[in-house]
């Protein structure tokens, strides 16, 4: 019987190695696998390359850092690939102080590079970023009168995903804007680990409504994480 459910965070995190590239889904706090991030912090892998939409929030005197900023603060992130990093943030400080490399990528290019990895497309041309600083070191070529640059696929050794509902085959649905990067990162992780709010019997999710088929999923952990929070 195929059964992708794991029963503990330790089992979910088992085998994540130092120097891994980790795809981290979510946008703001919505669709962000916060429990898995806590698990990764606990698990100990270091020298990580993290791929995420953004570098996260500023240091706050009232709230200790959690999630990605905490992982950065602990010195576990060698490189951050994202679309957005604030100068006044834990990530921004780490970059400024030379403790972390950063590669800032236009958000659509980031999403497409991840999808390309999942879909077996090693490289593609895009008009986004042509004739800007982003184009530095990129091969450029004209298509239909527009300059386009060549971008590489961005696969992950690990993808951390948050779902709304999952079954034992790893079929997933998402809730509202909690979809965001989750389905694309699920495709592109060599080891895709999911935290899900709800679990259901096989067959409960209608075939036409499954967003991520289980073929992209390796492990599923049931975490009733509660509603996403607004930024503090």
């Amino acid at each position: 019987m195929i059964n992708k459910f794991v029963r503990s965070m330790a089992e979910a995190m088992n085998g994540i190695k130092d120097n891994s590239t980790v795809l981290l889904a979510g946008f703001g706090d919505v669709g962000t696998p916060n429990a898995l991030l806590d698990g990764l912090i606990e698990q100990g892998a270091t020298n990580l390359t993290i791929v995420a939409n953004a570098g996260g929030r500023a240091r706050s005197p009232d709230h200790p850092a959690r999630g990605l900023p905490r992982l950065i603060e602990l010195g576990r992130v060698k490189k951050l690939i994202c679309s957005f990093v604030r100068a006044q943030s834990i990530a921004g400080e780490a970059v400024r102080d030379g403790r972390m490399e950063v590669e800032v990528v236009p958000q659509g290019t980031l999403a497409e590079r991840i999808r390309a990895a999942g879909a077996g497309v090693p490289a593609f041309f895009t008009p986004t970023g042509a004739d800007t600083l982003v184009a530095e070191g990129r091969e450029a070529r004209e298509y239909d009168g527009r300059t386009c640059i060549l971008e590489r696929a961005l696969p992950g050794d690990v993808a951390l995903v948050e779902a709304w509902m999952a079954d034992r085959w790893g079929n997933l649905t998402y809730r509202d804007s909690g979809r965001n990067f989750n389905p694309v990162m699920a495709m592109a992780g060599k080891l895709t680990i999911v935290q899900t709010h709800h679990v259901c019997d096989l067959g409960h999710l209608p075939a036409n409504e499954i967003v991520t088929p289980g073929i992209f999923v390796d492990r599923v952990l049931h975490v009733e994480a509660g509603d996403p929070k607004l930024p503090e």
Binding site: V30, F84, V95, V104, E112, A130, T132, G178, N180, F181
Partner: protein, 219 residues
């Protein structure tokens, strides 16, 4: 605004948003950037069906919900809670930017630091060396939408021009802006340069030109 000594009254943020909203017809698919652009949705009458897109995979985004109807699973690209209009739907991030890059949006309205007379836009960084780099989705939107409008103050807080012959900040995209809505005027980017298509009451063309580095043309 230290403009009280003058006979004209520059638009506030809401005023700029309302002016841009006037020009968005029913049926358009529109992405609104962070800042002033995000206010535009509030000024489109509810009976004019405009479908708002948000980078995080929303089509048919509606206004901020009332407190008791908030959906924590529904935020916009600025991570503010929003609502979904009847008919709205969700796509994943790659498809969301497929919508953007594929030319499916009729319009994107972005904030700007600088716009040049050839339509070049700078809106993500003020120098090449910034540690914090906030590209986000702006480059994709600038190259992908059928039309790109910019809403911004006509000059910087210190009175420096933002509407220029050439941008001095790092570019977001070349030749992308077709129109600018400022607190003083509405400018169209044309092959001959900027054409003034609207100007606030009490401000003369010459006074507007004095606040603009690029040469302005009358409509």
């Amino acid at each position: 605004m230290n403009e009280t000594a003058h006979a004209f009254r520059p638009l506030g943020r809401a005023g700029m948003a309302a002016r841009a909203a006037q020009d968005i017809p029913e049926g358009w698919y529109v992405n609104l950037g962070i800042g002033i652009p995000s206010l535009i949705a509030d000024h489109v009458p509810a009976d004019r069906e405009v479908v708002f897109h948000s980078e995080n995979g929303i089509l048919g985004m509606g206004p901020a919900p009332e407190k008791h109807r908030e959906n924590p699973w529904l935020i916009n690209a600025s991570t503010q809670r929003v609502s979904l209009r009847t008919g709205g739907s969700y796509v994943h991030h790659a498809d969301s930017f497929g919508i953007v890059r594929g030319g499916h949006l009729d319009l994107c309205v972005l904030g700007g630091f600088q716009v040049a007379e050839n339509g070049d836009l700078a809106n993500w960084a003020q120098s090449a060396s910034e540690a914090g780099r906030q590209i986000g989705g702006a480059m994709d939107l600038a190259v992908g939408a059928k039309r790109v409008w910019v809403t911004m103050e006509h000059t910087t807080k210190h009175g420096h021009a933002r509407i220029l012959k050439q941008c001095s900040y790092p570019l977001t995209a070349k030749h992308c802006v077709s129109r600018i809505y400022t607190n003083l005027a509405v400018l169209e980017v044309t092959p001959k340069g900027f054409v003034v298509i609207d100007i606030i009451p009490g401000l003369s063309f010459d006074e507007l030109q004095a606040r603009t580095e690029a040469v302005l043309h009358r409509a």
